[in-house]
Amino acid sequence: MRRAMLMHRAMFVLLVLLAGAAPAWAEQAAPVGDPAVEERLKTLSNELRCLVCQNQSLADSNADLAVDLRNQVREQIVAGRSDAQIRTWLTERYGDFVLYRPPLKRTTLMLWLGPALLLVAALAALYLTLRRRRRDMIAQNVELTEAERRRAEALLDPDEGRAPR
């Protein structure tokens, strides 16, 4: 009982610490009172890539540029611009690279369709291999010997293989 309570307390402390760490990014940017704006900023910047640390989103990154960009995005949200307008504003400067979901274009066609094409190719290869193998077996006209047939029957018989009768 006591141990469980200690565990709970430890978990609570850990949670408080983590909760303190999570919104650290928001502190660096000029705070705006409107939670709706912050919410939109967060959703939007989660879908945007930071150019300095390229494997982080704009929301996660603490790079100077990411902070500046978040501030500008926030300003634009406050100014009443739509998400699409803000994304366009960013891609005009940094290209489609900033978008974690790149638009479907001629240059990104392979990116979007490549995995599906690979899957189709793999399935086609599997189908062709199986068909050829089946055809080969029929062509070879494999007949079982009497002993083999009996063994197969024994293996397939549900009563066989259980405890001996």
């Binding site: 150019l51 300095v52 005009e92 400067r93 940094y94 290209g95």
Partner: protein, 173 residues
């Protein structure tokens, strides 16, 4: 035939790996190439009362180099820029990006000043308009105010000699 298919797959993989090794993922192609340079009007580093705008640069080919005194990589390219500017081929403007003016002036005093003029982008807004994400960066802008080339990271003597100089000459003629 049995061995040809795995061999072919292996070769294709090798080719892709080779391509991957030669890509520079840190160099994001700028969408601003062949687009009009974003407008700006910024104070001069040497004379904060005076300002320079994009309009002032109309009619000439010029090079814009984004730098800062806090930028370590800028020191790498600095001697090459100093040498480049000595040739007097093209106006070299510095965009002093998110810097403290006093520190910037001291830096130029210590390492030499290759720039015809440096302009102060204290909050980095013009930098963002130019798609700057890693200082130093270097732009070549033509007489119509169109960005023709962008180099990300420190310029090397090779880039200056083999890319920027020929491009500037071509644009000037």
């Amino acid at each position: 035939m049995r061995f040809l298919i795995p061999l072919a797959v292996f070769v294709v993989l090798l080719v892709f790996l080779g391509i991957g090794l030669n890509l520079k993922p840190r160099e994001v192609p700028s969408p601003l190439i062949d687009k009009p340079a974003p407008a700006f009007s910024l104070a001069r580093l040497d004379d904060p009362a005076a300002s320079v705008s994009l309009q002032d640069m109309r009619g000439k080919v010029w090079v814009l180099n984004v730098w800062a005194s806090w930028c370590v990589a800028c020191l790498d390219e600095h001697p090459h820029l100093v040498e480049f500017s000595r040739k007097g081929l093209v106006p070299l403007y510095g965009l002093n990006y998110k810097d403290v003016p006093d520190a910037a002036r001291a830096w130029l005093g210590k390492h030499g000043n290759p720039y015809d003029v440096s302009i102060v982008d204290a909050d980095g807004r013009v930098g963002i308009d130019y798609g700057v994400y890693g200082v130093p960066e270097t732009f070549v802008i033509d007489s119509q105010g169109v960005i023709r080339y962008k180099h990300i990271g420190p310029v090397t003597p090779e880039v200056l000699q083999n890319t920027i100089e020929p491009l500037v000459r071509r644009l000037q003629s």
